[in-house]
Symmetry: C2
Subunit: 189 residues, 2 copies
């Protein structure tokens, strides 16, 4: 998605060979027009997949998940990083965070996802796929079918891409980074 | 907002005299059509206030903030509950959470809000106003003007309402609860 790549190049910041910062338009401040354009692109790719529910993991996936859910006219669910005391019937699993070097638990209300649901998972970043694997576990625990994985920015040089493609899921990334070297982003396509 | 009140009455759950649970359409699963209708209502109220930026606190305010920002065609910023290591120029303050009975820190990148900004604060719930006060502190620290406070559900029997109105802010709540008694919600209007 050309508009997104330009935003990353002009408004993003390369921190090191693994980390880019896009908090001026997606992860902290949100450019709603750009996120709507992302949703148009995701909608176009998945519109015939029979999606009935979008799932993301809080927090930064919520904006693109909302915008895409709006185009598809389906509800979305954000998986939570802390269990509310009022959750009735939770499914839970653990996630290893490379960034924070620790394991944390995520949870979702089982009643919001059924075995009849065809799920599109959406997230802001795909790196090693640890967050994705946890969400995949929760979606499976509810008996739903995972029909697609829509990602805003993937770092194709890490392990998440291969894991998802090897499992046969329809992975669609709006911007795919092949390498980050000497402060420069080399796109995969 | 009648549609929202009906959703609360039919899909919400009264937990006790202070807590209602609306996680089937706002706080965990999100009904995007209903949230869009909320945004229409918020837009109608604040459309002449010259808003340049919407601010919310992660996580459950993000969906209504996004939808309203989309109608107003302005960016929004979600204040964070954990400081990312990559934040360049943070403003921070502390929040006391009655629900969790503990103090935590929230932060925002100073560069995303300027003294020229006219800010609309949006959140899902207003109870004692502790989260609001923290956001007010951060908005002031950036020198911006707080022009309005848009809330999805307020519990008017707690202290937040009075705090905000006494300060002269334009508070607009889509649903206002006067009392919760014996499992029933009494609306304030």
């Amino acid at each position: 998605m050309q508009l997104l790549k330009e935003a990353i190049e002009t408004k993003g910041r390369v921190i090191d060979d693994k980390i880019i910062k896009i908090d001026s338009f997606l992860n902290h401040q949100v450019d709603v027009e750009l996120v709507s354009a992302m949703a148009d692109d995701l909608y176009e790719h998945y519109k015939d997949a029979g999606i009935t529910k979008i799932i993301t993991l809080e927090t930064s996936g919520i904006a693109p998940a909302f915008a895409t859910a709006l185009k598809m006219n389906v509800p979305f669910v954000f998986i939570k990083k802390a269990m509310p005391s009022t959750m009735m019937n939770p499914v839970t699993t653990k996630v290893f965070s490379f960034t924070k070097n620790k394991v944390y638990e995520v949870c979702m209300e089982r009643d919001f996802v059924s075995e009849n649901d065809k799920v599109l998972f959406i997230d802001d970043f795909l790196a090693n796929g640890e967050a994705f694997k946890a969400c995949e576990t929760l979606i499976k625990a509810c008996g739903a079918e995972l029909k697609g994985v829509g990602i805003v920015v993937e770092k194709a040089f890490q392990n998440g891409h291969k894991y998802i493609v090897d499992k046969g899921y329809d992975l669609y990334c709006l911007a795919s980074i092949d390498t980050i070297k000497d402060g420069k982003i080399i796109w995969a396509d």
